[in-house]
Symmetry: C2
Subunit: 207 residues, 2 copies
């Protein structure tokens, strides 16, 4: 199936995804999306009625997709260490293929937090502690991971993979001055982040 054969609605959606993740809701122009899709501006309204509806479709698709990526971690029947290594391999590879997603999502949620709430209606998050306790009770006692420290640790883990993409623009400028290649940095990060987190967990709160 070639680009031309694709259904119009699909073409519109993909073009909207391109333009919205690049420019954001406020910076995106319906005209740009139409040009990108190779169709007339009016057709956008025929299929999606308003810019807001088109944006919501794109936003929710991307948000659901990225949170679905977190689920398989809990399905695996492996050690906590292996899960951390698996997570960074999978997650950073996904972000390498979708580098503008973190900046797009974080920013649009900050501008309008209500958007993400509808996405979360279908996702369970409040049973995180019991899931972790059931699957990794022994390891968590060994590492002295308490219910109170979970938010600190979870955000530390996620930040190590998400931040390089959210801060991509400035990191590329800084790395250029330091003669560091950003793509190589990302490849190395898959291992580094896992090593870093595991080392921290092993060594924290140990007397």
């Amino acid at each position: 199936m070639t680009e031309k054969d694709r259904q119009t609605e699909e073409k519109i959606f993909e073009s909207a995804m391109e333009v919205f993740t690049e420019k954001g809701m406020d910076g995106a122009r319906m005209q740009d999306i139409a040009i990108h899709a190779g169709i007339n501006k009016s057709l956008l309204h025929y299929y999606y009625r308003t810019k807001e509806r088109l944006f919501t479709a794109v936003f929710e698709k991307i948000a659901r997709e990225i949170f679905a990526k977190f689920a398989p971690v809990f399905d695996e029947n492996t050690s906590l260490e292996d899960k951390i290594r698996f997570f960074y391999l999978e997650h950073i590879t996904f972000l390498q293929n979708n580098p503008r997603v973190p900046s797009f999502l974080l920013n649009e949620i900050n501008r309008n937090p209500a958007r993400i709430k509808t996405v979360f209606d279908n996702i369970n998050i409040d049973n995180l502690w019991s899931m972790l306790s059931n699957q990794h009770g022994d390891e968590m006692r060994k590492y002295h991971i308490t219910k109170e420290s979970v938010p600190q640790i979870m955000t530390a883990i996620v930040s190590l993979s998400v931040f390089p993409f959210a801060a991509r623009g400035i990191l590329e400028v800084i790395f250029e001055k330091m003669d560091v290649n950003f793509d190589e940095y990302l490849e190395e990060r898959k291992k580094f982040a896992a090593d870093f987190v595991i080392a921290a967990l092993k060594n924290m709160n140990q007397q």
Copy 2:
């Protein structure tokens, strides 16, 4: 320049800072800035000519301010550990008082990386490795910190304090479901982040 001029110009600048950090360049409206400053829309153009110039003034002020915050770390004559603890105390406190700054800066730089290059013309970054080596050669050998690992470690350190603010919108939604208070989480993070990084450095690459 009279006192009255200075007051008006200052009022405009502060209002622009409010509105731009809240809505971003694309989402901000000159009208909103004028209302916020309690003056007429035309006066914005009298003092700053265009929206772009007003935005640039705000952007560069904020960017210079936040990078200036990193410098004192290297002035202190203390151990690497103490510098890390000092950094998180100072940096997270600053971000608590300016919570929208990370999201604003990262996003605007991603949209237009050229903006940050002019700011960096005055800032030295390429001598980071020699500064670290001179001040902390012994500790860095002890922790097996090499020139190649500096980008990985630096971004890890910064991400632990910046990410909670860049991802504030979604974290507040998730924390609400988990019954976690975001402000308390930030207070705890000043110590947690330092403990986490120091534990990781001590335990990585150790046989």
